[in-house]
Structures are given as C-alpha cells and as structure tokens.
Amino acid sequence: MDGDSHRVTEPAPDSRPQGSDSRPSAQSSLPPVQSPLPPVQGSLPKGTLAPDNSGARVPFGSKAAESGRGPESGPGAESGPGVGSGLAGGPGAGVGPGAGSRRGVGSGSARTGAFGRTGATGLGGHTWVWTAAAVLPAAFLAVFFAWPVAALVARGFVDETGFTLAGVQAVLAAPRTWRIVYQTLAQAVVGTVFSLGLGLPGAYLLYRCRFPGRRALRAAVSVPFVLPTVVVGVAFQSLLAPHGLLGFLGLQESFIGIVAALVFFNYSVVVRTVGALWSRLDPRAEEAARTLGASRTRVLATVTLPALAPAIASAAALVFLFCASAFGVVLVLGGASYGTIETEIWYQTTQLLDLPAAAALSILQLVIVSASLLVANITRARQERALRLSGNPVDKPLRASDWPAVVVTATVALGLLLLPLGSLVWRSFVTADGLGLGNYQALAGNAGQLTVSVWQALANSLVIAAAATALALVLGLLVSYVLSRRPASAPGRRVLRTLDAIFMLPLGVSAVTVGFGFLITLNRPPLDLRSSWVLIPIAQAMVALPLVVRTLLPTLRAIDPRLHEAAATLGASPARIVATIDLPFALRGLGLALGFAFATSLGEFGATSFLARPDRPTLPVVIFSLIGRPGAANFGMAMAAAVVLALLTAAVMAVAEWIGPKEVNPW
C-alpha cells in the first residue's frame, strides 16, 4: 500500500434510523473499506509495477480523481453550462461527465429523457423504466407511511361532530404539554451539546491521528450505536438503579441519566460525521496558518473549525433529531416522572386512549422533527459539496500535544461507552444465589407473566426482522437506483429531489406515530391487516428504508457517468450496463445495507410496541415488559435478554461488515 497516510475512508455518514428506537446507523459501523469511491486512490503497490517505458508512473486513480470522478472532484475549472447542474445534494452531484476534463460542457445538457442518464441510454428515453422503479416504493410509502401518519394527524381535528380544533386547543393549552415540549427540547439541546463537545476531540483523534489500534477503536466507539434502544436503556438502568454501580449518584429516572444515554448513542454520529470530513481536510491550510504565525489554538479556531463547520452543523442537526425523537431510552430510563413528546404520544394513546391529544402531540413532534431534518438536509448537501473539494484522507502520527483529545476520548470510551455495557453484562450474571447463569437459564421459561419464553420472542424477532430486511432491501435498491440517476432536464432533477426528500421522511417521523397510524388505518377494508403479523415487518421496513437508501446511494452515485458511457460505446445495452456496472457497485453497499436493515428491525421498538400481539412479542418488547415488572428475577432476565439482543445485533453487523467488502472487493 501507499502507506498509512492514504487510507480510503468511509462514505460520508449522513443518516441513521430514527432516534426513537431503531438504533443501528449508517455511520456506526461502516467497514473501513466501504468507500463510495472505487478504491483506486492511493493504493498502488509501488514496488510491483512493471516499469512503463517512459518510467513515469502516474497513479491512475488519482488522475481520475482529479478529473471529475465521483464525490471527490469539484466542478471542472472550466465549468461550462452543464457542469454543476446535476442532482443537488448527492455525492458526485453536479459533476458532469465533462467536469474537470478539458471540456467546456458537462453532463447537464438539455436532453429529452427526464431520467435518461447521459450516455447510458443513448438518446434520452427509458424514462418509463425509472418511473416504474420509483412507483413501487412510492406506492408502498404512500400506503404504509403517508396514509397512517396522515390519518393519525387527522384524528386530532375530528370528533363526533366533525372538524374541530377543540382537541388540539385543549392540548396546546395544557401546561403539561408545554412542560413536555420543554423537556424534549432541553434533552435534545443538552444531548447535542455534549455529543459535540465530546465527539469533536474523538473525531480528531480517530480520524486525523494515526496510532496502533485506531481501527479497532473506531469500531469499538461505533458499537453502542447499533444497539437497540431498549438494550441501552436497560444497560443504563443497570448502572443507575439504586443497587447499581452508580446507584449512589441517585440518577435513576433523571434528566442527567437520559442525556448520558443519548450521548452514548450519538457520540459516534459526531465522531464519524465530523471525522469523515476532518480526515479529508487538506492539512496545508493549517500548515500555512502556522507558518503565518498562528498558534495551534488559533489555527483550530480560525482555520480548522470553520472548515469543519458544515460537518459539525450536519452532525448537530442529526443528533438533535435523534435526541428529540428518542423513545425507547426515555421510556425505560425516564420512568413516570419524565416524558418527551414521543413518550407522551405513547402514553396518551396506549394508556389514556386520548387520540386527539396524541394527534396534536404528533403534529408538534412533526414540526420539531421536520425543522431539524430540514437543517440536516441543507447542511448535508453543503458538506457533500465541501467533501468533494478535498482529496485523499490524511493523517499524522499521534503527538504529545494531542493529549487533551486522548484524555477526553479515553474518558468517553471507558466511562460513557464501556461502563454501561460492562454493568449490563455483569448484572446479567447476578442472581439471587450469587453470580451465575441463572438469568440465562430462566430465558427458556415463561417466568413471570410472560406469554412466551424469551427464546420464542427471539425467534419471532428473527423471522420478522428477516421479512423486514427483505422488504427494505428490495425497496431500498429500487429507490437508490432511481435516486442515483442524474437527469439532465431541470424538471427531472426537481422530481428526483422531491423523491429524495419523500423517501427520507420516515427518518423524521416518529416510529410511534407510524405504529399507531397503522393501528387506526390498516384495521379495516380495503386493508385489514390488524390481526396479521405482517404489519410489524412492514413498519420496521419503513423505519429501515432511509438507512438502506443512505447506504446504497453513495456507492451508486459514485459511479462516474463516463463509466456508463464507456460501456455503452463498447456496445453494452442499457440492460447490460445495469448488470455489469451498476450491480457490482451496488453490491459493495449491499452487505452493509443488509446488516443495517436487519439490525434496525431487530431492535425496533417504537412501532413494534404498538403492533406486536401479546402472543407474538418481539425481543425488545419482551425486554421492555421485563424491566417494567417488579422483582429481581425479572430484572435479571431483562439484563440477560438485553445481553442476548446486544450480542445478536453486534454479530449481525459484524457479519454484514465481513461479507460486505469481501463480496465486492475483487480488486
């Protein structure tokens, strides 16, 4: 290899499942080689090349990078009318085939086919193919997302007499509502601030510095992130409960405990989002500032942080979104005294059966979530633009002066990330008769009031998650494929941008809303699925879809349109281009997408808690019901079950990372 200084980085992390309870995330555990770029850059085995006659050795990959391929290249210096008119917001967007090459015009030519990718399709046309590929997921989304959510929201405005604002007004007038809104915002703001404050040094250390074990540490830091919310809630509970390791702090059912759990989740969002950009910042700007007489602190404040601003803003918006819509963690840790809008919706619907109130709260939640999603989207687009301007990842050896970052990161890794998990594992072995496997043995029985054993719940979870994964992958592939087109016409681009936003919506709408929406809409003809277990995988697929799309899309968008053109001029039909060019690229992201989809579905709690029937609960539902029951035996079983679920999730992600790159790494 070229040396450590050139490492292929992961795609810009930009999304993860909804904070409420679908935890695995896009950033959390990307395999190190999972790059949206064909990993040609900087990987020339120097010593093994047969000498070219001229003796010149031009790294082909880096040439390619200079001349307009993929996310790395900016619009060509001589950007003509076409350059920069690609899809907004995507890596590689706006990079026409001509960008960077000596051509005044790029891909954004006025073409006839709205979706016809220049070159791949010859002369326009094939619009219908993309339209068809878009219609299926769009229809699915309409029936299983838009309709239930809209129906739920509509409930807030209807009573026996017809349209009314009374219910909504009552909710908005209640002091309890505003206390909950305040708690939601406070929790999100504080969680975001701490995630940023702790995550930035981590991003620096793990993405800008080089030291032995960095890869392992990057992976370790990401682990909490794929854990189901219920597991994390239970882990913190084990730590903060009166008899727990930190029980003396009296933090059970406290704001601090919840924020700590939220930071536990979101730490790696910041580390990976900011780190991805940081690792690609050209160090020469900082070096220039240093030679101009700026201190390290001043360089950080005046050069580095401003350059990182888009990534920081993007991470902050995402973390805010996840914190504001957190559900499982708050439900487990908050107890009766603490609530957010999300848990309040759950409380109003399942406990009080007050639908207008729940609907009104859903609307409030939608406002908050849409706002943060909007900010996240804007900043993500900006970050992708920024990322395109930078080159290969750069890093430097760890220096003594890096000690603040080391101290902060070590403290976070040990104190915030390791401690709750260690506590969880430890508590799972604590039984009435001392340390032992009693809690695990109890998982086989129907102890307490459980209708099924934990192992049966696990089997349910696996079946449901498999179905949800299959669904999410099929839909995700279709959606990513459509979204990766680079239509030449302005209306085509508008259509695609709109589609892009639509398919990301499930990321922003609370899973609780979706789950409850299912209950009230899909319970009567034409679609009476209430008694069918298929509702659960459908709901989980909806929650996982944005994640699958965000994982597949960068790899598809990274395909240089000229690869398609080259294939077409070599005689490949559009179908053959899909099979021989697009599919191999998509496969690179497929293993990972599969892992995310499966892990997400496995840990999904918000929607599932509404939809799971008592005789067929999933594992997270069982864990939640166990932790809510009194008695040391139930508590111990909850711990053991959470450990099982955590191990399973981690195993799924590990397998996904293992198969992902391998199957797609023929070079």
Binding site: N53, F60, S67, P81, G104, A566, A567, L570
Partner: protein
C-alpha cells in the same frame, strides 16, 4: 456511396449555450482526423455527439451514408476512449479488455471463452502489456491504464475510434511515447479515428488531417503540412504558434525578400539572429534548453521571440540584437 463518417452541419447546444455550431467534416476509412482546439472550443462536444452521447440540435451524423440519429450509443460501434480511461474498477485488466468482446448474446462456451481470452491477450500484447490480464486495474500506472483503455477500445472492433484527449492526463514524456503507441496501433489495425486534443504536437504527430475548432466553429480542416504552411487565418495561425503578425512594410524592414502579398506570420523559428540584420532592442532573456530565448521589440513595436544558441550570462542579456526574418520559418497570410 460515401463511406466512413460524415458529420454535416452539426449543432450541439447545452441550454442556451451553443457548443458546436454547424460543423461539417468526414472521416474516411482508415483515416485519423484530429479535432484540435482550445478548451471550450467544442471539440469534445462534437466527439460526444458523434458517439451519440449528446443529442444533435441540428445537422446530422451518418456512417456510410446512413443517418445515425435513431441509433443508440451501444449500437453505433463507435468506441470512446476517455481522457482518464474510465476503466471499470471492479474488473481486472482482462475483464476490462474483454468487456467489448462479449456483446453477442450467445451462451459462452468453453471454446468461445478461450477464443476470447486469446483475443484479450493478443490485444494486450499489441499495446505492450502482454501478461497483464489478471492484474487489478489499481496496480496500473497512468500510462498502462491508458494502454489498457486502448486495448479495451480495440477489442470492441470499433468502426470508428473516438479518442477524447486520451493522453492529456499524463505527463509529457509518457505522452510523447504513447502518441507513438497510439499512432502505430491505429495504423496497424487500420482503425479510423477522431482524435480530440488541445495539443498541437499531438495532433501533428498522429493525424492524417487536422480540424481546428474555435468557439464551436470549424476554422480549417487540412492535412498537417498544409495546415502549417497555409493556416486559414490569423486565428488558426496564432493557435498553431505563429506570431507576431507583421504587415508587409514591417516585414520588409526585417529583411523579407520583396514585398509579401499579405501579413507575415512569424513562426517559432521565423525570426533569426543575423549580424547583417536589423538591430532591435532586447526586452528580456529566458534561458531555454540548449539556448536562450530573447524577447525583442520589433521596429513596429511588437514583441517577438528569437531563439539563440548563446547562453547569456544570467540577467545580463545583450542590449540590442541584429535580427532578420527567415521566410522558411514564416508564412504569409492572405489579406482578408
């Protein structure tokens, strides 16, 4: 019947911008035509239009007399070789080269597979990369990658090869070497080609005829010798490296024999140092390989360059120099 490629009044537009404006040219069987022009001259757009990668807003592209407007890219048999190769990163060298061989829908048999492998190896040897088949393309240098791209293009047995600045991403030494490889390969296979370049030397080295483009217009289409001796106007001459341009009296003052019937375009070697010539003031001196390039102020006020073999002491050029025009290094542009 006409054979080969005919482009008639081709127009390519990107929104309001017209990149190619009514260009007509043809490529005969076995002929290599260079499209030479500066950045933004429309040469690459024209190439893309010929390939079918851009729609024509006007005019036509035809092959052997058949209009290609309705023929999609992959059925034209025109292979584009891109500036940066655009090798498929997920395929090996052999996989890339063989890509265009496998267009038939026949089920691959052992025999056809073997024939394919042999053909791939044959082409790799043609470009000097025999035995490279199993390598990943990431293990290639820039020059090797472009040779693989060339082999891949030839494997598809193109009716016409479209080369879009195939060498400009490479450094100079490699470029000069690969021009030779390209030239030899094109001649050996008899493949007609359109060769887009902004590099005059490349165009002169490889082309049977050169089309000079500027702002989407075809300024001149001629064989290299004619183009050099008789550029169609000041713009073409300037692009080829002529300059300054002297009116007849100024030329006479610099020793032009007789009175030229137009302005004299001074080529790179058109002004020589000659003790019996006209004395001019030296403005600047730049060391060059094997000599010094002096910038002098001609009697009519224009600056001009003179290459002298003398190495001037750095910073101390002679104050004046006697120069004259060498007609063999100049050309006379008809007054327009």
């Amino acid at each position: 019947m006409v054979s080969g490629l005919q482009v008639a009044d081709a127009v390519v537009r990107y929104g309001p911008v017209t990149a190619v404006d009514g260009v007509s040219l043809d490529v005969a069987p076995g002929e290599v035509v260079a499209l030479l022009g500066a950045s933004g001259s429309g040469k690459s757009s024209l190439l893309r239009a010929v390939a079918g990668l851009e729609p024509l807003a006007g005019g036509s592209v035809s092959w052997d007399g058949d209009d290609l407007a309705e023929v999609p890219v992959h059925k034209r048999g025109f292979v584009v070789m891109f500036q940066d190769g655009q090798l498929f990163p997920h395929l090996s060298v052999a996989g890339n080269v063989g890509y265009g061989l496998a267009k038939d829908r026949d089920r691959p048999t052992r025999r056809s597979q073997q024939a394919k492998a042999e053909r791939v190896e044959e082409l790799l040897e043609l470009v000097g990369l025999g035995g490279y088949g199993p390598r990943p393309i990431t293990a290639l240098s820039g020059g090797q990658a472009q040779r693989v791209a060339l082999a891949r293009s030839l494997a598809a047995d193109p009716k016409l090869l479209l080369l879009d600045e195939p060498l400009s991403a490479l450094d100079r030494g490699l470029r000069e070497h690969l021009v030779g490889v390209l030239d030899a390969t094109l001649r050996a296979t008899g493949t007609p080609a359109l060769y887009v370049t902004h590099d005059q030397d490349e165009a002169f080295a490889i082309a049977d005829r050169i089309a000079v483009l500027a702002d989407g217009h075809l300024l001149q289409l001629a064989d290299p010798a004619t183009l050099w001796r008789h550029p169609a106007g000041r713009e073409v001459a300037g692009f080829l490296g002529y300059g300054p341009f002297l009116d007849p009296s100024a030329a006479s003052a610099l020793g032009w024999p007789g009175t030229p019937d137009g302005s004299v375009a001074v080529g790179p070697s058109g002004l020589v140092s000659d003790l019996s010539g006209t004395e001019v003031r030296v403005l600047d001196a730049q060391p060059r390989r094997g000599g010094t390039e002096l910038t002098v102020k001609l009697p009519d006020g224009q600056p001009a360059s003179v290459l002298t073999p003398d190495i001037t002491t750095h910073g101390r050029p002679p104050a004046v120099l006697a120069v004259r025009l060498d007609p063999s290094g100049c050309t006379v542009l008809a007054t327009t």
